[in-house]
């Protein structure tokens, strides 16, 4: 196995892992599998596209590539806007759909089915607004850097770095801060968390904001390294859930590690068997982990 396969797998895995952190957070606090999470990834990518395009028109100098990267300052600035807008979208979906269902004491299966409905609506809305034509943050080709026998574009290396920083920040937030303590307590026992003074509704909002924000970052990475399409979230859904369950529900570092493992497995499969089998890898991993260790690598047994 060449080192190139490992690098390609890590880059793909970082994108999957960031999305999976959002899945694992919403699953552990809200206690349902949100199948609309992939759409937050796609909406995050499109929000960044729209804002960076607007900034590029407003100030063309912002579109000039920064150093070795393929994009100008318009994209990092747009990324901040996309994170905020995707978080707002997630809060809106919660206020209109999931919140009322929770208030009625809806069964988990109803929330899951509602998330399917939300996913369909959000995906079709994207296609309606932006069409199904693929889009890109930058049109120019980027030359890969060589490190011995391994090649990687500066954009890909940047994405790896950003993923590493984000996961360290998330780990700190969850393990060391008052918000993280409250999130862990709510995940274990929401009623007792309320009795300990935790405002559960506030924690739910924070989880949506964090999950959607991370989804937006993942979406921007996918858009930067692959392409932007309305179905990009749907394509990532299975790897996201495979990574979240492999890492153990509720564990942010576990989700990133799960993402890296899924990404590496996909990369190895593409090299050894063929690209048409890439999608099957996440499914095989998901089934295997559910059969062998349902609590995942870092999860706690139910």
């Amino acid at each position: 196995m060449s080192l190139q396969v490992v690098i390609d797998g890590l880059v793909a895995g970082a994108m999957i892992g960031l999305g999976a952190i959002g899945v694992t957070l919403t699953y552990s606090i809200l206690r349902f599998a949100n199948f609309a999470h992939g759409e937050f990834i796609a909406w995050g990518a499109y929000f960044a596209l729209a804002v960076s395009g607007f900034l590029g028109v407003l100030a063309p100098s912002l579109a000039t590539p920064i150093g070795p990267f393929s994009f100008g300052w318009s994209l990092p600035i747009a990324a901040l806007g996309a994170i905020a807008l995707t978080a707002a979208l997630a809060l809106l979906v919660d206020a209109l759909l999931f919140g009322p269902l929770r208030a009625k004491g809806g069964a988990i299966i109803i929330l899951v089915m509602a998330s399917f409905g939300a996913a369909l609506t959000l995906r079709n809305l994207l296609e309606f607004i932006f069409t199904s034509r693929p889009a890109y943050y930058a049109e120019g080709l980027q030359i890969a850097l060589r490190f011995g026998g391994v090649r990687a574009t500066p954009d890909a290396l940047l994405c790896l770095g950003v993923a590493a920083i984000v996961v360290v920040a998330m780990r700190f937030l969850i393990a060391k801060t008052a918000i993280g303590r409250a999130m862990r307590a709510t995940s274990e026992n929401p009623q007792l968390a309320g009795l300990a003074g935790v405002d559960i509704r506030k924690i739910v909002r924070i989880v949506w904001i964090l999950g959607a924000g991370l989804a937006a970052i993942a979406g921007i990475m996918v858009g930067l390294l692959v392409q932007i399409r309305p179905t990009m979230g749907l394509d990532l859904l299975l790897p996201l859930f495979a990574a979240a369950i492999l890492g153990g529900i509720g564990s942010a570092p576990g989700a990133l590690l799960g993402g890296l493992i899924v990404g590496l497995a996909e990369s190895i499969t593409v090299r050894l068997i063929g690209a048409e089998w890439r999608a099957a890898v996440a499914f095989v991993i998901l089934v295997a982990i559910l059969l062998l260790r349902p609590s995942g690598l870092f999860g706690r047994p139910e």
């Binding site: 008052a178 303590r181 862990r184 026992n189 007792l192 009795l195 300990a196 003074g197």
Partner: protein
């Protein structure tokens, strides 16, 4: 006139609207009192205190905590109004350490008093101070009850409600728990206790209220009720058996 720490007015509560477990309970607890709620199994004692804490839906009536209407307030708001509630089971966060359990509860306090309050609670419960990084899930039953009580007390509540704190404990540890509750009450904290261990509860409480089929049927001083043969025969079979 002594202030009311807790008041329920014709409270109707239960998990299902059509099947209320608490049926029109009027309860008045004065500040500084130690009141025990007694009654046979299924009388609605636990449901009543859970409804007061905001854990069980209230369908009619009112709950006032320190004079403030808290009928439909979520639990975290009731905590800020001076209430602390210790459930019978699952009353600590098993995956969090002892320190994290206490810090979580202390997070609603002002920054400058959090560390001091945690130290005070460690002084009150030295067993907890010995290994603060131990996960709560690894503690014994008695230690868990101590941690649950410490977590509740850290915000210096004016009203402490406990749901069967002696359940599952050895008689020696249960006696320690009751002694601690008496000491806490002596500092001015109002206590409402749900308890099956009737004899021990009446020994430490100042007043008792007896619930039967979701209604408050009798009340009186703990001494009166302990000596009342009719009440004992009707509702407190456990007291006689345990006497």
């Amino acid at each position: 006139m002594t202030a009311q720490a807790l008041e329920t007015r014709a409270l109707v509560a239960g998990y299902e609207r059509d099947l209320p477990i608490v049926r029109g309970v009027d309860l008045n607890v004065r500040a500084g009192e130690f009141v025990v709620l007694l009654g046979p199994n299924g009388a609605g004692k636990s449901t009543l205190v859970k409804a007061i804490a905001g854990l069980v839906p209230i369908h009619a009536g009112a709950v006032l905590i320190n004079g403030e209407d808290s009928t439909f307030s979520p639990p975290h708001q009731k905590i800020r109004r001076g209430l602390a509630f210790v459930p019978q089971t699952e009353n600590v966060f098993a995956t969090l350490t002892i320190e994290e359990n206490l810090r979580l509860a202390a997070d609603i306090l002002p920054n400058n008093v959090r560390a001091r309050r945690i130290d005070e609670l460690y002084a009150m419960f030295p067993d907890l101070a010995a290994r603060p990084s131990r996960r709560a899930g690894q503690l014994s039953g008695g230690q868990r009850q101590m941690l649950a009580a410490a977590r509740a007390l850290i915000v210096a509540p004016s009203l402490l409600i406990l749901d069967e704190p002696s359940a599952g404990l050895s008689p020696k540890i249960a006696a320690e728990v009751f002694a601690r509750l008496q000491a806490i009450n002596a500092t001015g904290v109002t206590i409402v206790l749900v308890e099956q261990n009737v004899k021990a509860a009446l020994a430490v409480a100042s007043r008792a209220v007896i619930l039967v089929e979701g209604e408050a049927r009798h009340e009186g001083s703990a001494a009166e009720l302990a000596d009342d043969p009719i009440v004992a025969e009707l509702y407190l079979g456990a007291a006689k058996a345990g006497a």
